[in-house]
Symmetry: C2
Subunit: 105 residues, 2 copies
DNA sequence: TATTTGCACAACCAGATGGTTGTATTTATA
DNA sequence: TATAAATACAACCATCTGGTTGTGCAAATA
């Protein structure tokens, strides 16, 4: 299998989506992210690694701490794709309208 | 691992995203979807199954054919989540502004 | 200085994923 | 009716995923 590292992969996991929204409120270190999660530190650390590789967050070393920041603009790719799909969907109805117009003539 | 069947999972795979956009233009049978893909029929059939389980498409039997239709409104969940994240992100700057205002006083 | 905190690295695991090939069945069509 | 088309079902495979536990180490803090 090919390891896919893009925004769509980043937001595919529910735990990662929660992490992204936590970071949307402001930067946090690993310990801060882990708080209130029902999974182990290591599991979160792995998610952070994936998010970093997907370009969804940036990680900065600060002393012994690992500061994580969300790169929200990455979500534009997702929004754009959704918009594009909807556009195709609407064009589909436009074509149906055209067809009905043709029938009227 | 837990099998996740939601929109985010549906759009996580690039092949599935192509399928969704193909279906956004209008319904197709399996053969129609498979056209121009570099993978086997069976691989596509599996993707179709996943998309169906995720509620991203509906599949209707019609003679020997399997008609697939996109359920575009499912993408609202994705768009909403992105919007929500951006909102948190913007509130973050609002708070920074408030902080700077406080400093001014 | 001793201890706590924050984190990295490694090994391991069950199940999911994305793909393959082969065979069989049903429905249209020539 | 013979053949082609559209699809289903099953087995198999390598790799990824999401999680675990255990060990160790550097940076803060008491």
């Amino acid at each position: 299998m090919i390891e896919r590292r893009d925004v769509f992969q980043a937001i595919a996991d529910p735990t990662r989506r929660i992490i992204i929204q936590k970071l949307s409120r402001g930067p946090l270190n690993l310990a801060g992210i882990i708080k209130e999660f029902g999974v182990s530190r290591q599991a979160i650390a792995k998610h952070i690694k994936v998010l970093d590789e997907c370009g969804m967050i940036t990680v900065t070393q600060k002393g012994r701490e690992q500061i994580c920041e969300a790169r929200l603009n990455k979500l534009d790719e997702v929004a754009d794709w959704v918009t594009e799909s909807r556009k195709l969907w609407n064009q589909r109805f436009d074509k149906l309208d055209q067809f009905l117009d043709e029938l009227d003539k």
